[in-house]
């Protein structure tokens, strides 16, 4: 099973970007490379499933490339490159982040680059973001300057 669950208990999850660099390092260390094509993380803490409210955000750091499937009830910040299938609560693509593939989530905020298929409730496209693909949303916000291309569908 390709499952990505993170340790629980963090005080603020509202600003995943604000997580200190040492915390970022921890996240990166957690990820084990199992195969060149597909990377995945073992589910070390099954209790994390019920702790989505306090779940620590996972981070694909700058310069880090991840190809594969990500599933979590928690949040993910992509500052590096991620290609694959994602199923998450919140996805944040940072200013230099690149996300490609199929994403299904509740909230998605793009400050970098996204291409592929997206299904979400809330979509926020930042002013320097580039979003390209098939997008199904319930609510959308595009900040001035954000670029969005493709098919849009309101659920």
């Amino acid at each position: 099973m390709f499952s990505k669950k993170k340790k629980a208990k963090v005080e603020s999850k509202d600003n995943p970007i604000e997580v200190s660099s040492s915390a970022k390092q921890d996240e990166v260390d957690d990820i084990e490379v199992q195969a060149p094509e597909v990377l995945f993380v073992e589910d070390k803490d099954p209790s994390a499933k019920t702790a989505s409210k306090t779940m620590k955000p996972s981070i694909i750091s700058e310069g880090f490339e991840f190809i594969g499937e990500v599933r979590s009830q928690g949040d993910l910040t992509v500052d590096g490159t991620l290609r694959g299938t994602l199923s998450l609560n919140t996805v944040l693509v940072g200013a230099g982040g690149v996300l490609e593939g199929e994403v299904s989530c509740n909230r998605m905020s793009v400050k970098g680059n996204f291409s592929g298929r997206l299904e979400c409730i809330d979509l926020i496209v930042g002013s320097e973001a580039v979003v390209d693909g098939n997008i199904a949303f319930q609510s959308i916000t595009i900040q001035r300057g954000g670029v969005i291309k493709g098919m849009l569908l309101k659920k």
Partner: protein, 133 residues
């Protein structure tokens, strides 16, 4: 819109229904219903405004509804009450939360000769350059 200078401007008041092709050299404000083609330099569609047809303008400020095709060669603002359905082309876009945008989106590129009503200025091309960067 200033009251004193209405040259080149159009206001379609609430309750007014127009069908046909409209070209406005300056600002068009639509609070009523328009069926057909609208081209203007600036287009304001108020909460009550509905346009069904092809819309071309440099700047579009949408609080009402536009169905079919919309091209904003400079900027498109979809406000919280705005609804854009169909094919949308824009150079610069902004959508407020709650704004509705559905259909095929593409970025406006100066690839075709637009109708004589919407001359493209240098400002437009420098604008799109900014976004590319």
């Amino acid at each position: 819109m200033s009251d004193e200078d209405q040259k080149g401007n159009l206001v379609v008041g609430e309750g007014v229904v127009i069908s046909g092709s409209i070209s406005v050299p300056e600002t068009a404000t639509v609070a009523g219903q328009v069926e057909g083609e609208v081209s203007a330099k600036e287009l304001f569609v108020t909460d009550s405004g509905v346009i069904r047809g092809k819309v071309i303008a440099e700047v579009i400020d949408l609080r009402g509804e536009v169905h079919d095709t919309m091209t904003a060669s400079k900027s498109l603002f979809v406000r919280a009450t705005g609804k854009a359905l169909g094919t949308v082309e824009y150079a610069l876009i902004e959508i407020e939360k709650g704004g509705d945008l559905q259909g095929a989106l593409s970025k406006f590129e100066d690839r075709r000769k637009p109708d004589n009503l919407t001359p493209l200025t240098i400002a437009q091309s420098s604008n799109s350059k900014l976004i590319e960067e």
